[in-house]
Amino acid sequence: MAESDNIVVETAEKIFADLADPQTINNDKNNSWQAPLWQALSEAGLPLSWVPDDLGGSGASLADGFALLNAAGRFAVAVPLAETMLAGWLLAQAKIASPEGEMTVVPASPKDRIILDADGALSGRVRGVPFAKAAKHFAVLAHGKDGAVIALVDATKARIESGLNVGYDHSDTVTLDKVQPVSIKPAPKGFEQTNLMLMGGVARSLQIAGALESMLDISVRYSNERIAFEKKISKFQAVQHNLARLAGESAAALAAATSAADAIANAKSFNDEVYLEAASAKIRCAEAAEKGGGIAHQVHGAIGFTMEHILHRYSLRALAWRDDFGSESHWAVELGKLVATRGADELWPLVASR
């Protein structure tokens, strides 16, 4: 994207440029960049963008927060910014105030469940929770006999089996065994786990779209520098056409993700139209991560396959983000079922709904 549209994104981009320059952090083997980056983001109020002032956040709009996530994707930011934003958003649905520090959401997969028992304790084992290891608190969506509840849980009360996703970021298994939450409230009427998954999916879609924008950018730049057969490789038609396809994948991801973000930001409820937007974004962005990332690597050749080069920071994260909050296969099946249930003659009215 050419220029920032709002103050939230401008602030974030400045912080990312200063403290999360991809080449600098890629060279840093001790991850000593993480603490100063998180501190700067926190001081700017960005992790709690989606939390209203009276609940301890900075009260930015959904739209501004989504734009921030797209910017974070452009820098392939590897701190729990998206996760803390989502956690704050989830807690705010039940008017629970957000604490300071890193958070993540539990569960982070459509099939996993946390159960609320009669004693008010939470139990369940959920996999693939992003940055659980780094989180001080979890925002938990659980199911009790009276329906969905939202809870704030102290991370030290959970058992965490740490793991890494394909992009080398923490993706952990979290087990709650009769854990008493810090606070717990009923979820708003109609709020289901699907809402959280769609919201998380759109966040990941925006991050993937951002990563693809950067992959396009660095691939174009590299092709204009690299000489082979006595000319820049950007002058070979085969390379040009590959990069044109990468531009198409990047554009499709950006369009799908920003459209879904716009739909959620302006929706009164999570109806079929929002479902179409959010599910489509996750499906299409995941496909673009595979196709587009593959082209970026092809253009870079062997250098892009090294740890020293920054390309993997984008390409592997974009692939990893496909798995969170429901994979593209999951959403494709669910969207296909929705379309089938509505019937053939209701497909076009759904697609043309805005």
Partner: protein
């Protein structure tokens, strides 16, 4: 950043949704009256001049043009809604589609006033059909290699040569064509071509239909032999057609017709699998719908940029590249997914008939109106690679 591609999310204004209802109601009436069959994909076989006039009477042709030429001064987004509803219904748009999308805007920009006053209102009334004369036997994608000559004569030009692959030339009343008025120069090989308005069905023009692999006769060879064109039918600058060609491309390339050409097979697949699809069918349909939705949002976004007065040439080329490749693959994906559809599915025959036609149609979709290779060249230039 080198690449500043933008696809801002556009929300269609309320007036578009009102218009959409009107278009759907109109099409439902036409279907009920037997004008066309929405399940019959080979709509190009249906030449429907009366339908064309009724669409014109609704005010849906030339709807963005100035009122003094018969237009409605409505927005590109409203035109977009009309176009997509017609396309999805398989309405027989052949008579007016090219004139409304492409030829009218060229005339608006480059024709002398009296020609505009004469022809544009007739397009708006759905009375006349246009063809586009670009390709020649030895120049297709390489547009500026065109050789058909326009030689100066008293009060105009004499045309000699051949255009080919000219859609609808056999029914067209007019053609907008490029002819060679001067040789190319050393500095500029694109120099020397001029855009003309050609009145068809006149002496010196012979139209020979060419059979297509679908079994249709939809494009033609058009042979010019000393055909006379008066001076006031020159469109724009003599020898300068190359300057005029590019700005219209965004309109031509980004519309809903660039990904909906085979859409009907998807609808019919959903009907065939019924309300409880197996996992394979559900996933396949889900992916196709997600891809379709994404392209439509990109296409609507480009329409929004056009409405805002921008010229998103690269974005439009991306829409056509992705859209035409998708609509080309769609019948094959649907065929895969339909492989295990119950023999008893009530619409099985309809689906099979549609697939037969769509599979035969598919190869042309990435060729007509700018090949995939040409589009990727344009995108590459936009990225700063050429």
């Amino acid at each position: 950043m080198t690449a500043a591609l933008r696809f801002d999310p556009i929300r269609l204004p309320e007036k578009c949704e009102q218009l959409r209802k009107e278009v759907r109601a109109f099409l439902a009436e036409e279907i009920a009256a037997g004008t066309f069959d929405p399940n019959k994909p080979n709509r190009e076989d249906t030449d429907a001049p009366e339908f064309s006039r009724r669409v014109g009477a609704k005010g849906w042709l030339g709807m963005t043009w100035p009122k003094k030429y018969g237009g409605q001064e409505r927005s590109f987004l409203e035109r977009y809604v009309v176009t997509e509803e017609m396309r999805v219904a398989n309405a027989p748009t052949r008579r007016f589609f090219v004139a409304d999308r492409q030829s009218g805007p060229v005339l608006l920009k480059y024709a002398p006033e009296h020609i505009k006053m004469e022809i544009l209102p007739r397009i708006c009334r759905g009375e006349i059909c246009f063809a586009i004369g670009m390709s020649e036997p030895n120049s297709g994608s390489d547009l500026f290699a065109a050789k058909t000559r326009a030689t100066r004569t008293d009060g105009g030009y004499l045309i000699n040569g051949t255009k080919i692959w000219t859609s609808s030339a056999h029914i067209a009343d007019y053609m907008i064509a490029i002819f060679r008025t001067s040789p190319p120069t050393k500095e500029n090989r694109r120099h020397g071509l001029t855009q003309f308005l050609v009145k068809m069905k006149q002496p010196g023009i012979k139209v020979n239909p060419i059979g297509q692999i679908t079994g249709q006769y939809e494009f033609n060879e058009v042979v010019f032999t000393d055909h006379f064109i008066p001076d006031d039918h020159v469109l724009g600058e003599v020898d300068g057609a190359w300057k005029q060609a590019t700005s219209e491309l965004a309109y031509e390339r980004s519309g809903p017709e660039r990904f909906l050409e085979t859409y009907y097979v998807l609808t019919e697949l959903v009907r065939a699998v019924g309300p409880n699809p197996d996992t394979r069918s559900a996933e396949g349909i889900g992916r196709l719908v997600a891809q379709l939705h994404t392209m439509r949002r990109m296409s609507v976004s480009v329409a929004g940029m056009l409405e805002a007065g921008k010229e998103p040439v690269v974005e439009a080329s991306i829409v056509k590249d992705i859209g035409t490749v998708w609509e080309q693959q769609l019948p094959h994906r649907v065929r895969d997914l339909a492989a295990f559809v119950e023999e008893t599915a009530t619409n099985r025959q309809t689906l099979e008939r549609q697939l037969d036609f769509a599979i035969k149609t598919a190869p042309k979709l990435t060729i007509q109106g700018g090949t995939t290779e040409v589009l990727r060249g344009i995108i590459a230039r936009g990225l700063g690679l050429r």
